[in-house]
Subunit: 452 residues, 3 copies
């Protein structure tokens, strides 16, 4: 047994005097920027983030680099894109909405018949007022997205199709922020920055991650864990990053979270890791149950973001996805309707509180062991009711003394705070405060095994 | 990792150009033969089977041989048996129905009063038109079985009771067919041939097993597993066989099935092994769920056929029972009503399909591991949709691409095809085809550990 | 395998010629004695028990002894206590009811105003005719308990408050009875003797434990296990005892029971050990299910008696609590309403039968293994029905032959009697008789591993 204070408060909720960071405002600022896998829009976005998180490093992978089964693509630059009718009316125009052009479209400048154009048009018959979000990253193609209403109004005839885009050897950018803790063991936070002009999916993830990172960076107290915080283009970004950092991450990561679609107020959900039982699954499910009665629990079969890479066989990082309304489940998903009206400052703040609780629990999630055989005498330490009247049959809620006694009764050196809280049916965050008190009174200790 | 083609198709369904074997006709041919534990009826039956399965060996155990706790009984020969009234009317007559005489009855030739005879008569008050099936293999006795209606019509008086039977040192016959595979590891198929003139229990088992064996024998492709296919008298046959083959079978058997009562169309059921968790349990339950919504799952407490021996403590073979309407659960069981009207060619064919699926899954049930870290890029291999439009929020059924991605996501080298199919909620047979495709593209491999 | 008779009957139910011990009468005898943690009342109680259990040792811990986190308190003597009004009327009087004075009250002799006295009065507004039971063992204090009705009738004014009590260095007494078995392995029975003048909680526990101990003491047959039977003051008694005996008890205890609140007829319940899975949990739950359809299963969160000490982390004895209506769950709990009308001889006798079954199962709870490969031939041993008519489709209850066959089928050397009974869905006590029969016929044996 080692006896030293393990209770730290690196992430103990927002300072009420500050109020919350203006996450919604950040999302508004970032919304108009044209983001894709790579290019100036991504760099502009990362610069904005770095202004708020000075410790961030903006890094890059070179086009053409082999990363596992993939190759880092060329940079794509888009100057302009439109379809013009014979009267010179621009009827679909990138400058009107970032979603109008298929991501990574090849350049084209040609008069074509509507019939020919049609197989390059994307619209949603069942959602006729929405512009869909479509990309063709790894297949040479071009295309325009438009509302189904507009598409139905197009008259047969000739149109001038212009996509002024170019590909060049360049880089794939990403942001990396490492916040050192007293331990080499790490917690991973990962979000993605490749989606243009959609709000819940995906500006909510980056702005929430920024707020969490600012909170972690500003702490005076030492944090126990090291935090690896990533702002990546989805899929290729995570794959590229893992191809360079896998060994270290496998050795050190104790939990991780892909943060995506966290800005609306309709749901709280988790996308479980492949096993469904890793530490991140356990802490996130426990915490979500404090925020709503029935958080939605998606299995790994419903994965869709970078947990696909982090949890893939052989990579096997203990990573869960955290969402409010998960991607691919809400009606506005991957359309122009996923705009700034879908997310709220309050939705983001609730998500922030969830993640702060999650990290606080992880920082304090020891496997405590009672230092005393049989029940300790709480009375002589002033920890117990003065007199035994509590047991006269008058029912009462579980008092903090009962919670304390239950915690001691299950503090066997094998059960962590989360599992004891689940057994008792209380909040892990409540047990942290109790553990602090008991630690101060030398009633519990931490098995040597657990100290790194 | 070893890289060689593991996908074989030794048991991949019936060749549609052939149609199914005429299993029902075989049952009709075998129905009139008087079978018991041993004797000419059993030999005649085995000769019939060998005519269709030339690889079958007809073998024997000598009467008096000690086999574990048992002794191989003498051969019993029955020439004739009847009860005659004083007017010379034969009122119960073996020649009218094979079930009329209690199996292994001792010889008798005597005039007796009805009162005396009564304790040697067996009938079913609750099923008054059925002749019951009764045997007395290990207790010297004699008796007649008749419908309760007939019994009630017997007038008091004297009757001439004749059983012209004899016992002699002889043999207990059985049929054994070994079909070699590339591995020494074996799959056991066991059925029994000792029941006279009943159809579901038990001509359905032998004729289905014959059809499966013919299919396995005729394959051009090498099968992975060796098949041990047994046509035995129930209980004493299995015990005798195990007494000579236990060591080899314990070393090699990966799964086995007792095939019994598989000819009607009323149910699909499994009798689980003692643990309820062995490979045969898993594959059979998985497969039955593809054939009906709620297959009946009997625990080992409901055992009744040779799984009693194969799964007994110390023998411990991984064997399940496969039935349609299980013995002892259907009203016609062990009576003259279990006749050829109870089973159908279609019932037998459905059972055949179940077992062919089961064996195909077992042959291909590898613990695949993805060869590639992070998700493979299916796109550049032509395995992925051309463009990302599938994710625009339009719901669709799980496509084969999604199935493929899910399979890759769970192919961790520890989970076999069956368990991955259960996780995904798809058919293991679907995954076999997908695994073949991924194998061809070097996306998955088989852990060296698994290769024998 | 070792082959010798393991079936013993040390605790095989009460001898019907004796009838049951007069447990209710014992409770009546003990009811008026003023018991507390220590002192003359406790000694008088132990003397009464010793008269019925001559093997009992009355032992002691000296006041001031350090026992883990606690100190053995001084002896408390109470001569008299009352509140008198100005007219000399004694309005609350210890001599009227033992519960009127707070346990371990300090001496006082003073005229006080009602306002001052009020914070030393305890009553139950929601149960206005009951006197509550209150103690203040470890906090210097004094007080009176009275019905709320009486309290409301007190007029403002001056009262003479007298508590003629004293504290002195003395001892904490307890009773210990060790009944040697053939093995060093032990079963613990623990009950407490510190509650004054309450019947279910807690004279029922001591009188039931006395009857069990008398039964165990009087056995002619050797018992397998050693029994450690304790009559202790609650909490401090168990802690003191463990501080001296923990090492031996941890090495030897295979199961244990805290016996408390076992005299009424309203419920059967278990308070599970911390794991909920130890041998005492398994055998007690199994047995209770034979006595009522739904015994109440309390988790360790509902602990309240000395299982709090026996199951505390680091002590970790396999101990469950056995109750009818558990402490803190019935309306009369810890009040004057928990009197002799609450318990009955019949309630105590049913509890006795439960515990006798529990101990009989434990004594015979071997992990049997069939000595014979494949099914044994019960027929030639006269253990089987004479003829196979039982299987003619006439449904019948599980016969003893079927039970015997099921037992053999699961007797794998790894499953104990309790787990086999749970699988089969029968009573473990039924299997004991069957095991005896099979043992006599050399059909089962006990793995060498299990022999101590």
């Amino acid at each position: 047994m080692i006896k030293k204070d393990p209770i730290i408060e690196p992430v103990s909720g927002n300072n009420p005097s500050d109020g919350f960071d203006p996450m919604y405002q950040w999302a508004c600022d970032l919304f108009p920027i044209y983001r894709s896998l790579s290019g100036d829009g991504v760099r502009e976005t990362l610069d904005y983030i770095k202004a708020l998180l000075p410790g961030l490093f903006i890094k890059e992978f070179k086009s053409g680099t082999k990363v596992f089964d993939w190759t880092v693509p060329n940079e794509w630059e888009i100057i302009d894109a439109y379809i013009e009718d014979e009267n010179g009316n621009k009827i679909v125009e990138l400058s009107k909405h970032n979603l109008h052009v298929v991501g990574y479209s090849e350049p084209i400048n040609r008069w074509m018949m509507l019939d020919e154009i049609n197989e390059h048009l994307f619209s949603l018959p069942n959602n006729p007022y929405a512009i869909p979000y479509v990309t063709s990253y790894y297949e040479k193609n071009w295309g325009f997205c438009l509302t189904h209403k507009q598409r139905e109004s197009l008259l047969p005839g000739k149109y001038h199709v212009v996509i002024d885009s170019s590909f060049k050897k360049g880089v794939l950018n990403y942001g990396e922020l490492i916040i050192k803790g007293s331990s080499n063991k790490e917690i991973l936070l990962s979000t993605y920055i490749c989606h243009p002009s959609m709000a819940n999916n995906e500006l909510s993830g980056p702005v929430l991650t920024m707020a969490i990172a600012r909170h972690l960076s500003s702490l005076d107290l030492d944090n126990r864990y090291t935090y690896r915080i990533l702002f990546l283009p989805e899929t290729i970004g995570a794959i590229s990053y893992l191809s360079q950092n896998l060994h270290k991450m496998k050795n050190n990561t104790i939990a991780g979270f892909v943060i995506s679609c966290v800005g609306d107020q309709r749901d709280f959900s988790i996308i479980q890791s492949r096993s469904g039982k890793c530490l991140s699954d356990r802490v996130l499910i426990h915490t979500l149950k404090q925020y709503c009665e029935k958080p939605t629990t998606y299995s790994f079969l419903d994965r869709g973001s970078d947990e696909r890479q982090y949890c893939s066989p052989g990579v096997d990082l203990p990573v869960s996805g955290f969402s409010r309304s998960k991607y691919a489940t809400f009606p506005e998903y991957h359309t122009s309707f996923d705009d700034l009206s879908l997310i709220t400052q309050r939705g983001l703040e609730e998500s922030y509180s969830v993640m702060i609780d999650v990290l606080r629990i992880l920082e304090n999630n020891h496997k405590y062991k009672t230092s005393i055989l049989c029940e300790p005498q709480l009375g002589r330490r002033g920890l117990y009711h003065k007199i035994g009247v509590e047991n006269t049959g008058i029912s009462h809620k579980k008092s903090s003394v009962n919670l304390m006694m239950d915690f001691i009764a299950f503090a066997d050196g094998y059960s962590d705070i989360i599992s004891i809280a689940e057994k008792i049916g209380c909040r892990a965050t409540d047990l942290i405060d109790i553990a602090k008190l008991l630690w101060d009174h030398n009633i519990i200790s931490i098995p040597k095994l657990e100290i790194e």
